[in-house]
């Protein structure tokens, strides 16, 4: 046996303060009513820091600061100067990427190899990409002189804390808006370190404001009358509530919500790579991915072979300390999410699907869930319909391409899909028929700042990324 010795990334590269205030008008300030909550490391349940909880008064203060900055500084500023700030932020992110990656893994529970090799490079790439647009907006296809919207209220989830911040802040600032952003209550730390980076970059005060808190803070922010634009990434349930509250106002809205993506494997697929794609599709980031390939649709004629390979591959996954460089599966982000994953998985067993996990020892402290697949799943099972948002794969089979399309589309969601086949014509035929915002062919979970991302149906509306991503922040 070849046992890998522990290879932990050093925690000392990042300094976590005992407590954090709100970032308003370029400074860290205490909340008006002094409320606070704790952010914990989900791998150990250790408290990382005390975080200020913003009340409606604090949110109001942040929105006012953003309004002043918008009117006095940021929107009158020439695009090339805004670009200069964004490039500077992007470079600082690259310079401090190790620090940010460690902090992200500590606060979120994701393996360091992912925060280091996926999250952080994409975060920097996003800022670089939109920095490039800041002085070229007249060429973006939205008219000769497109104008910003004003103050953007942005509420982001806990699965990719810093990356979702980048998806929101970079296009907003490039287009000339100012922002008030609320990170998720379980993962606020990298957003607060990002606030320090804004200071380091000499970003004018009020252009970026960060208010921490839970649902109430988020509600106060999106319902604030001084806000011109609301951008939300998170659950479909909360997305619906936001859509209702924004209805009838002047606020422009983009929503990026849940998903139940089909990863479709045909009998002529490159099996070894398809298995990698299935694993990456559902076990990347512990399955806490809105576009996760959580339904495997495999052609009946190769189902046994694919499942055998998949199980063998799953047995190689290394679950444990997120800071260990060899960890593939980290911790579930919170006790609440773990409870939800458990509930849906138990429902899968109760409804008659067959559950399988590789032999897997879970650490005693922290929130953990073994990589799991369900076979014998039908379209009627809850695990085939509801978003689990965890490392749980439902396996269904199909016989013909038409049946694959029908099953793939038979969901209220429509964020992403994957197709695995050696036949190019079939990829195009399928992509035309799949009602999903992103269709990956012979790959999965590939992201690039130049590529628009967003959903059909209950997966939301609006696009983030690419030229299309600018539209959400321009008055067009």
């Amino acid at each position: 046996m070849f046992e890998y010795a522990p290879a932990p990334e050093s925690r000392s590269v990042v300094e976590i303060k005992p407590s954090y205030g709100l970032f308003v008008d370029g400074k860290f300030v205490e909340p008006a009513d002094g409320g606070s909550f704790k952010s914990v490391n989900p791998a150990t349940e250790e408290v990382l820091a005390e975080i200020a909880e913003a009340g409606s008064g604090d949110v109001d203060r942040a929105v006012r600061a953003a309004r002043t900055a918008y009117e006095k500084v940021w929107s009158p500023m020439p695009g090339r100067d805004r670009a200069k700030y964004l490039y500077r932020i992007a470079r600082i992110i690259q310079e401090r990427s190790r620090e940010l990656a460690v902090l992200e893994s500590l606060d979120n529970g994701k393996p360091i190899k992912e925060s280091r090799d996926v999250d952080l490079p994409l975060v920097a790439a996003h800022f670089f990409y939109y920095a490039g647009w800041a002085d070229k907006l007249q060429h973006a296809g939205f008219g000769a002189d497109p104008k910003p919207l004003g103050v953007a209220a942005q509420v982001i989830p806990w699965n990719f804390p810093l990356l979702m911040l980048a998806w929101k802040i970079a296009p907003a600032l490039a287009a000339g808006n100012t922002v008030v952003l609320k990170p998720a209550e379980t993962t606020p730390l990298t957003a607060l370190l990002f606030a320090e980076i804004c200071q380091q970059a000499d970003l004018p005060p009020g252009v970026v404001n960060i208010v921490t808190g839970a649902g109430e803070t988020g509600r106060a922010l999106v319902e604030h009358p001084g806000v011109d634009k609301v951008a939300f990434t998170g659950s479909t349930e909360v997305g619906r509530a936001i859509a209702r509250s924004v209805a009838g106002t002047r606020k422009k809205l983009t929503l990026e919500l849940g998903g139940k993506a089909a990863n479709i494997v045909f009998d002529d697929a490159p099996v070894d790579q398809a298995v990698e794609g299935i694993v990456n599709g559902i076990f990347f980031n512990q399955g806490h991915v809105c576009c996760a390939g959580s339904r495997l649709l495999v052609q009946e004629s190769v189902a046994d072979r694919v499942l055998e390979s998949l199980k063998r591959r799953m047995a190689q996954l290394r679950l444990g300390d997120p800071l260990d460089k060899n960890t593939d599966i980290g911790a579930i982000n919170s006790a609440a999410q773990l409870a939800r994953i458990r509930e849906l998985s138990d429902a899968g067993s109760a409804e008659g699907a067959e559950r399988w996990s590789p032999p897997c020892e879970l650490p005693e402290r922290g929130f953990w869930f073994a990589p799991t697949i369900f076979t014998g799943v039908t379209q009627a099972h809850r695990i085939a319909r509801e978003e689990i948002f965890g490392p749980v794969l439902s396996v269904l089979t199909f016989r013909t391409p038409a049946e694959a399309v029908e099953k793939a589309n038979n969901t209220p969601y429509g964020l992403s899909a994957g197709i695995w086949t050696d036949k190019g014509s079939r990829i195009l035929w399928m992509a035309d028929r799949l009602r999903a915002g992103v269709v990956w062919a012979n790959t999965f979970n590939k992201f690039d700042p130049t590529s628009p991302f967003g959903g059909y149906k209950e997966s939301g509306y609006g696009r983030e990324g690419g030229r299309h991503g600018l539209e959400a922040y321009l008055n067009v």
Binding site: K113, D272, Q273, M314, A315, L319, G320, N326
Partner: protein, 325 residues
């Protein structure tokens, strides 16, 4: 860190008898072209991903000793002399004269004419004696010449033969011809182990690498080897990954285990460890043994020795502390 224990016994599909395939060109072609394709981007991405494993401290020490035991210490130069290959053989037996705990290498690999001199030195030891044969490296010689080359090497004391496949015939789709040559060479080997060099740098696609791997295994090869080291592209991680997948699937289908030898271009301990990680996570511990995995290399050994010394003493010794042969 919690390591998931290796899964025991996934049900493998019923073992099939593939021995009849070699009887007809059509059967061979149908079979080889029916193998699942390899997606280039995916295979390269997986190989790169495996290369990011961090192997430290005790795991590194274990990997270095294993890698040393897997080295086929090689010299394949027109300028090789009896004196040169004797020195190499002596090094194979005691790679680090200063440290008796250092294991010996897997084998010494030379041209047939050099086999008798190496045999003198290795006699009675556990180090194997490999000889390239079959008009290495191009293989462009009549079959009788290739077989005579093989027999001569075995007669002179080689217990492992590294043959080259007929790439021209393979690329032209004459699979039967390639198959028959391997069968004939295997017969000429007698008891000696046969390593079949695919020269993957000339096969151009991973699909071809997979097909050539299966062809070599079906024809009776004991090992499949990437390269001669004489063309610009030698062993690469993704090529080795595809070959490892092939030996894994071949054993599942037939019950027979075949070894893998990446050769050429592997020069550093870091590279060697990446290959061991790939073996570990693709085919598992059954292949983590010099009987089933080898490195065709020359300069790799000194880097392994240098890193080994660093681990035991805590400091890097200069290159002059390691023998040059």
């Amino acid at each position: 860190m919690r390591r998931l224990p290796a899964m025991t016994a996934t049900a493998t599909s019923a073992r099939s008898d593939l021995s009849e395939l070699g009887r007809s060109e059509t059967a061979l072609r149908t079979f080889l072209h029916g193998l699942p394709g390899v997606d280039q981007v995916g295979a390269e991405q997986r190989a790169a991903q495996l290369g990011t494993r961090s192997i430290k401290t005790t795991a590194k020490a274990q990997a270095i000793d294993l890698a040393i035991r897997m080295v086929d210490l090689t010299t394949l130069e027109g300028a090789d002399t009896p004196g040169k290959v004797r020195a190499l053989a002596a090094k194979a037996l005691r790679p680090d004269p200063a440290d008796p705990s250092c294991p010996h290498v897997g084998a010494v690999c030379v041209y047939p004419a050099m086999v008798p001199y190496v045999a003198e030195v290795l006699r009675g030891s556990a180090v194997h004696l490999a000889s390239v044969a079959t008009a290495f490296p191009s293989g462009q010689a009549p079959l009788e010449v290739k077989l005579a080359d093989t027999r001569a090497a075995v007669a002179a004391g080689a217990d492992e033969i590294d043959m080259v496949i007929n790439r021209g015939a393979f690329l032209a789709g004459r699979y039967q011809e390639v198959y028959d040559e391997i069968v004939a060479t295997k017969e000429a080997c007698g008891d000696a182990h046969l390593k079949v060099i695919l020269e993957t740098g000339e096969l151009a696609t991973y699909d071809n690498v997979r097909r050539a791997s299966w062809l070599a295994m079906l024809a009776g090869g004991d090992f499949i080897k990437t390269s001669t080291g004489k063309v610009p592209v030698a062993a690469t991680p993704p090529v080795t990954l595809v070959m490892l997948e092939a030996v894994r699937d071949f054993r599942a289908a037939t019950g027979r285990q075949v070894g893998v030898k990446p050769a050429g271009g592997i020069r550093t301990t870091k590279d060697a460890i990446k290959y061991l990680v790939m073996v570990n996570e693709t085919v598992g511990p059954d292949w983590l043994d010099p009987d089933w995995f080898r490195f065709g290399a020359s300069s790799l050994l000194n880097d392994l020795l240098m890193q080994r010394t660093k681990l035991t003493t805590g400091v890097y010794a200069g290159p002059d502390y390691f023998t040059l042969d």
